[in-house]
Amino acid sequence: MERLVVVGNGMAGVACVEQILKHAPKFEITIFGDETHVNYNRILLSSVLAGEKEMDDITLNGLEWYRNNGILLRLGVRISAVDAIAKTVTGEDGSVTGYDKLLLATGSSAFIPPIPGVDKKGVFAFRNLDDTRNILDRAQEGTKAVVIGGGLLGLEAARGLQVRGCDVTVVHLMDSLMERQLDPAGGEYLRKQIEQLGVRVALGKSTSALLGNGHVEGVVFKDGESLPADMVVLAAGIRPNVELGRKAGLAINRGIVVNDFMETSDPDVFAVGECVEHNGIVYGLVAPLFEQGKVLAATITGNRGPLYLGSKQAAKLKIMGVDVFSAGDPNAAEGAEIVKYEDPTLGIYKKLLVRGNKLAAVILVGDVNDSHRYMEWLRADTDISPMRRSLLFPEPSSDDGRDVAQIPEGDTVCGCMGVTKGAIVHAIQSRGLNTLAQLKECTKASTGCGSCTTLCQHLLKAVAPDFEEDGRKVLCACVPFPQESLREIVRSQRLKSVQDILNIYGNGVGCEICKPALSYMVDVVWCGDHEEDRSARFINDRVHANIQKDGTFSVVPRIRGGVTSPAELRKIADVADKYKVPLVKITGSQRIDLLGVRKSDLPKIWADLGMPSGQAYTKGVRMVKTCVGTEFCRFGTQDAIGAGVELERRLENLFTPHKVKMATVGCPRNCAEATVKDIGLVGQEGSWQVVVGGAAGKSVRKADLLITVESTEQALEAAELFFQYYREHGNYLERTYDFVERIGMEKIRKETVYALDPAKKGLLDRLRKSKAISYDAWQEGASPVNPTQFVQIEAMHSPPGYFPPEQFQGAPV
């Protein structure tokens, strides 16, 4: 066995080691990494910043992987010297390690521009997990953030900060965003989209200094202007880490120079990744680095043969709702034909450079559906003359998704990890894969930037016999996004009506599944300040009553806490008589149901009752059931009725992902069954237990303890925090008992009752805002949203008079 020492525990180094392990065992491997984390997906730091992923979600190789493959892992150790004669590396911990072969995979570092003040507190790079953690610690609601650099990295950082509530400005030296990947027109489309997200963009700005006394306070530009800043993120480029290569005496230009076999100028020292320069190019995206790793693995294991001949590069901006794709060099337009399409209203810009009937470069802004097709043409150097008539818009395929059967076996599906369609199909068939998670685990496809996820899913659907959608299920085929993403889209794109969402992100039509879900979503995201569209609501929510099997409706007035009075009961009895209500029933929720009411009678009944709606028909706050508690019960330790009535008052008229039933009880005897309710308050001597996620319906589930608190006010606040958190994070039609299992009580506690004060205040503020806008739906009886909502329309002539339409054209009506 030879000793292989790897310096750099990053994406390229570890991927290369994975390839080396596929060859016959030859090495005893040691990996040094100066970060303290196992190999993680650096690409997804943007998603961590934007809150789409947790830090734990982006691990690529867990400790078991190193252990199972017999790799000695040394984390937190920086290698400071190489002695290529003695064949040793020296760590900053003083250790000296001998090698037979050395692999340098040191990546790059953020370029810190030489501006006075970059060493101030509050100035961050954005390269690794620690940077990301530091940025997140600093970024609060309202923080003024300046991002220096308007490339991929800068824009993704800006987006992440903006999602965290910061007030963000991107400052860019050039006159156009992402100028290396886009042309000025494409950059302009991108700028509009970025500004629509609420991020300011300042172009042509050269930063001359960062101000502040210890801590950064502002940014000054060469033109004399300045901006206030509580934090600054530097995203002005990267520099390959080549010092070790230099110390090892290797040939160095911008990066460590390698040949087509991935050999350096020293036969025992190899290099891979962002620290490498091949044929004059230093690559900064993972796909090329993985291709390099494969070749290097062959060379280093004694299977010298495969060549690395350079890669076609493609860049994709990972910002939800801002679609940008670029491949090839779109600014090398000389001698190229330009094929272009743009639609300013839709924000779509497509441009192809064609040279000698081959695609040379492509820019897509606003619609990147075809990126895969173009990438393949570039990679395979396809003669595109046969496709000339449909270059910008592919022939419509019969499939609603991409016609996966048309993709050739050898085509790369996952560009990041270099996985072909053939490899995916083979894995699905030979290993019996059925879910995306299994496919990721087994082939690594779709574990990079994630842009091929839909394609992988289509392949699974087509090939796997028992395909199952993964946890991240889309809402429905009309708007094929998971609900989390949709909430994010609605918020960031400031969409306030269901039809707008369907028009921009869906099929423009919608159905009975997505329309009510989207109606709920715009309501909760905008705290009730949305554009209500009753045509997107289920009938119950148009007429504020529960439709019954014969088309009649039921009427359940609100009786808070189940506490009523003789006068109220008399009114209900009178109404039941007057309208000949066929059935009067005490419900399971301590209230009274009048069943079999005709739609046209609803407004009259509500007026006669003079009681508010009990929302028994909707996905919203149903009721708070109470026991008598200290009022009369000899066991009572807490005022269950008082607390219950108050809780119902605070939450009534609000909508939720699914119905919310609550109860309060005065002691653990639990007479009103609070432990099987969505939210329950269980009184005990000197305190309340607040429990959530209980159920006594199709399934029975005992509620989980959220927190125990001393005062009734604290108990009510805990209930409100959970209630609003469920409203904001629950998927439509997800009851609290599924919600708490999906999210986990620990996380729920951390983000509600144990959250930091600003987060708690945010939840309560949004709840209060929604509450202030909400109203008793039965008021619509007197002023309906649509005048004919409760009216039975009669034909204009009755008994029918018959006319052919021509005859009464223009006749008085």
Binding site: C478, V509, G510, C511, E512, K515, P516, D533, R534, S535, A536, R537, F538, I539, R542, I547, K549, D550, G551, N786, P787, T788, Q792, I793, E794, A795, M796, H797, S798, P799, P800, G801, Y802, F803, P804, P805, F808, Q809, G810, V813
Partner: protein, 108 residues
């Protein structure tokens, strides 16, 4: 075949339906934005009031058990079924919606 004037177009909100009684018939009229369509207001499944359903393109979804009925042909699209509802030709003349009622009451 007789055309009968039903109601003003503004009485049927965009993407909603309303039922109208014509003699002893109960007819559901829908406003699809660019046109109005009318079908018998009785779901073939269990008699549900189709006029109260959510519209999905040119299909209405019955509010009772979500059967999907095509408003153009009257055919049940989901679940698979041969059942269908009767459809009525609709024309708008000025602001007035008119429906063509067959002379004798036998459904197609």
């Amino acid at each position: 075949m007789s055309w009968i004037r039903i109601t003003n177009t503004e009485n049927i909100p965009l993407r909603e339906g309303r039922s109208v009684r014509v003699g002893d018939r109960d007819i559901a009229i829908f406003n699809l934005g660019n046109r109005f369509l009318a079908v018998e207001n009785r779901c073939p499944h269990n008699g549900g009031p189709l006029a109260e359903g959510i519209i999905s393109g040119k299909t209405v979804v019955c509010p009772l058990h979500a059967w999907k009925v095509c408003l153009e042909s009257g055919a049940v699209k989901k679940p698979q079924s041969d059942a269908c509802v009767m459809t009525y030709p609709v024309e708008t003349v000025g602001d007035i919606i008119c429906i063509d009622i067959p002379a004798n009451a036998c459904a197609a």
